[in-house]
Subunit: 349 residues, 2 copies
């Protein structure tokens, strides 16, 4: 089969490797219907040290089950499934508390052991917890837009949803979303679904912020840094935003976040932080009782509620995909996302 | 009258100054019944640069109203009142949202303009928002324990309560309190009031942790640093604490907090941070979806519910006071708290 590997910054290759096989009785083997490239894949694309051993890439997938291990009971060959971007048993204490990305027995795709999901086939560990069946839909006849939206439930839309959920978005609240990438736009859509009264989108790529407006943004702020902070404070009558959804992960976005969050407000981060230390003392968070939330989205906690929303057409989060390529073209897909000529790239087998 | 001033680290003086007078029609002048020394007063006691101009000290007070300005309507001369440690109008948008320490028109005691509350008399700005009447109690005949407990509603108990409230303490949760000072012990009592199933108190001063056990702590951990983290992880079956109430303010306490908080858990800080930057990235908070909350307690939001709890004897938070001195003896009171020979010092006029 074909699978994607990164050998260093800017060096992505699609290679022929042997097909995955069942290793543990809780595994499943699935055949890809659609996968995609994530904004977080661009972090190693910028910074990974060159290596003679490639890192398997990809963690977003919709697929058809080929084969299951002896202990798998919830899916079987032929089922059309969504794979959340992390695997989990969905039964441990942290899974039961709704934080499946901290599953005691779970983990991340893209290791030498587990492999990546930008591939023709994949081995899914803990399949009962890590695959969710899409009922009553044949992927061979479903339209592309529906497949695209279902694919976003593997990561990007539900990562935006996690930001909004942890930010406690509810009717009457002013929400500011920092970042007009696919996660930021997903956060706009999720905040709208949760009833936010006002959604300010901070971003300066018009094609993207236009989609943000269609997703529910009521204001767009193109300015950054102190100018961006001043603009949001002005838009909120000097009060600041009840909730800030930070979908970038770089320090300037964090600085904007605590600059615009209102006293008692919540900053919810889903952009993977490219820093470890950050201001949290009296002058940033503490003095105004601002709260900090967020982390890797426990997609598994939200996916069952989201599937019918997609199937019914209530939400159409797949609109974040603006390019579709074949698996062999994946290196060009990374380049296009890095160049910002594509917002998010979907991959067909 | 006598009032307390700090002239530099370790240099506290009680001086005779002129009595305060009404400056604005929203002011009240009050005569102290009890004031006290706060753990946060020890920060400048350690670090303040020597100055020829003294900083007025003190922000905790129960008092009798002497005189009110023309616009004051909710209290009048003779009323027995509690002064929350910050002043506020209690009507602005942030006050209405329950974050009175961010009141648009409010502020802190201890400035040259407002003065401090370790004094015989004080001017209280925005008296309608900044004084809360204690009904049906004559301070001249009330017993000392009752006065002590009412005094804690000015700051220390309700600061502990704020920690527990922002940490979302509720039945079934495991709570760890870091710090056995008066705020930490108050946080134990508040967590117990809110129904925490288990309360682990991290502290190593036996006289203090013994009071913590009386306040509801189920476990005491004397170890610090990595040993303390290991002990709490062990006590929680390797899972960590749902909620961590950080009542110290120094970096090692913050490091313990993120070391023991469980995935999806909440760290709620009320120790004033003596740092600005701290770890919040993948390796500390983000990776496990740990949340950070807390700040200066909006005591005003909680005080009306707490007064009847004190008057009925349901809670007795005044037990954190273990020494009572006169106003003239305040410098020795600072020294005793700094030496840890006193937990918290109450001051009589």
């Amino acid at each position: 089969m074909l699978a994607t590997f990164m050998y260093g910054a800017g060096d992505v290759r699609v290679e022929t490797v042997s097909d995955p096989t069942i290793k543990n009785p809780t595994d499943a083997i699935v055949r890809t219907v659609r996968s995609c490239i994530c904004g977080s894949d661009l972090h190693p694309y910028h910074s990974m040290d060159a290596s003679s051993e490639g890192s398997p890439m990809g963690h977003e997938l919709i697929a058809v089950v080929e084969e299951v291990g002896a202990d798998v009971t919830t899916v079987r060959a032929g089922d059309f499934v969504i794979a959340p971007f992390a695997f989990q048993d969905n039964t441990c204490v942290f899974c039961r508390e709704g934080f499946q990305t901290s599953c005691i027995h779970g983990g991340w795709y893209g290791s030498a052991e587990t492999g990546g999901l930008q591939a023709d086939l994949a081995r899914i560990p803990l399949a009962d917890g890590s695959l969710v069946k899409v009922p009553d839909l044949n992927p061979a006849t479903a339209d592309d837009g529906m497949l695209a939206s279902l694919l976003t439930l593997s990561d990007v839309y539900l990562t935006g949803y996690h930001a909004a959920h942890m930010g406690q978005v509810q009717p009457g609240k002013t929400v500011t979303v920092i970042g007009d990438g696919a996660v930021g736009l997903s956060a706009v859509l999720a905040a709208n679904q949760l009833g936010a009264e006002r959604i300010i989108l901070m971003g300066r790529h018009t094609a993207r912020t236009d989609l943000g407006v269609e997703f529910g943004a009521t204001d767009v702020v193109a300015e950054r840094g102190n100018d961006g902070i001043a603009k949001v404070m002005d838009l909120t009558g000097g009060e600041g935003s009840h909730i800030v959804l930070e979908a970038v992960g770089h320090m300037p976005a964090y600085e904007q976040a605590y600059g615009i969050v209102r006293p008692g407000g919540i900053i919810s981060r889903v952009g993977v932080p490219q820093y470890e230390d950050a201001p949290v003392g009296f002058g940033s968070l503490f003095g105004k009782n601002a709260r900090l939330a967020g982390g890797p989205a426990p997609v598994r906690a939200y996916i069952e509620a989201a599937i019918p929303q997609v199937l019914s057409g209530q939400i159409n989060p797949g609109r974040v995909f603006d390019r579709t390529i074949s698996l062999a073209e994946v290196p060009a897909g990374y380049q296009a996302m890095d160049d910002r000529t594509a917002l998010k790239v979907m991959v067909t087998p």
